[in-house]
């Protein structure tokens, strides 16, 4: 019954006025799907025991090795503790800097996965990494030639590369129990 109700709302909301719709980029978040929660208690019952299990496991530190999909430099990387990965291109952090990777799209372990929509709650997962090396890539040769037209160009390029080692991935606090005040993690004063 709830499913049918949602379907009706979804098809209704999809009709934006045409002069507006043709200029909007085709992102699905542009067209919000209004949902009507019919029975809040029932909804909570279905997910609360799963969340409780996860929180218990994390509190007892029995979750084991965690992996995370992290968004960095416009790319997504699946990392776990001890991994070394490369960030290509201009990236300010220098060698020896300790960094926290905040844009976590997904965290998982042996028994559970936390899927972010699109990102996991800000303070919930802590992914720490250290910059171990800053180098240039091998020399890439950009060679263009048009045959029989006396056109030949050669360019050499070396792309800066930064190596990061992931020190640890931790779940801090409880799932579905965000702190009362957020946004102060990076505040200095």
């Amino acid at each position: 019954m709830a499913g049918a109700l949602r379907k009706i709302f979804a098809t209704f909301a999809r009709s934006y006025p045409k002069p507006v719709a043709q200029f909007l980029p085709r992102l699905y978040s542009n067209v919000p799907t209004p949902y009507e929660i019919v029975d809040a208690q029932e909804e909570r019952k279905t997910y609360q025991d799963v969340i409780d299990k996860v929180n218990r496991q994390v509190a007892q530190a029995k979750q084991g090795r965690l992996f995370a999909v992290v968004h960095i430099q416009g790319k997504q990387v699946k990392v776990t503790e001890g991994d070394v990965f490369v960030v290509e291109g201009y990236w300010p952090p220098g060698a020896g800097d300790r960094i926290s990777l905040d844009k976590v799209l997904l965290v998982g372990g042996r028994d559970f996965t936390l899927v972010g929509r699109p990102l996991v709650q800000r303070g919930l997962v802590r992914v720490e990494a250290t910059v171990i090396e800053e180098t240039l890539s091998h020399t890439k040769t950009h060679f263009k030639k048009k045959r029989r037209k006396q056109y030949m160009r050669i360019n050499f390029m070396r792309v800066p590369q930064t190596m990061l080692r992931v020190n640890r991935i931790e779940i801090v606090g409880e799932v579905n129990h965000p702190p009362d005040v957020t946004g102060l993690e990076t505040r200095v004063f």
Binding site: A10, V69, G108, T113
Partner: protein, 149 residues
């Protein structure tokens, strides 16, 4: 008799010929036959190789993208979801994992991938997302760790 103007007929093509050609021979050292020893043949091969290397960098990105799509499709079909339905449903659920991440999860984190297919199936059911016409999930025999139901 000394013919002094004979010396004028000697034309040097430049002092750097050896090193100019050495740059090419270094790159052609592993070629087969005369292409590694004769300059005229070597330079043609080397130029083609450099052009292929340059173009290959763009092709590699395309090839890897196709590989990821293949892997995600394979993972999806093991859970009876269509790839297009899967990606559309995840997109509408605001889950912004790209093809690279999804392929990695499909390969190395099967339980996580199953959770994502479950989310996608529920969303597809609610919103009526159907696979494109003619795009049917073929019969995929379940093997190994997957239970046959």
């Amino acid at each position: 008799m000394v013919f002094t103007s004979v010396a004028n007929f000697v034309r040097s093509r430049g002092p750097d010929e050896f090193w100019r050609k050495r740059k090419i021979f270094k790159m052609a050292a592993h070629y087969i036959g005369r292409s590694r020893n004769c300059y005229s043949l070597a330079i043609r091969s080397v130029h083609r190789a450099l052009v292929f290397a340059t173009k290959g960098r763009a092709l590699k990105k395309q090839d890897l993208a196709n590989l990821w799509v293949t892997r995600i499709t394979a993972g999806c079909e093991q859970h009876d979801v269509n790839y297009h339905v899967f990606r559309e449903s995840l997109s509408r659920s605001n889950i912004m994992l790209n093809r690279k991440s999804l392929a990695d999860l499909a390969c190395w984190e099967p339980f996580t991938f199953k959770a994502l297919t479950d989310i996608a199936q529920k969303r597809a059911l609610e919103e009526g997302i159907a696979p494109p016409k003619g795009n049917k999930v073929l019969f995929v025999p379940k093997r190994g760790s997957q239970k046959k139901t």
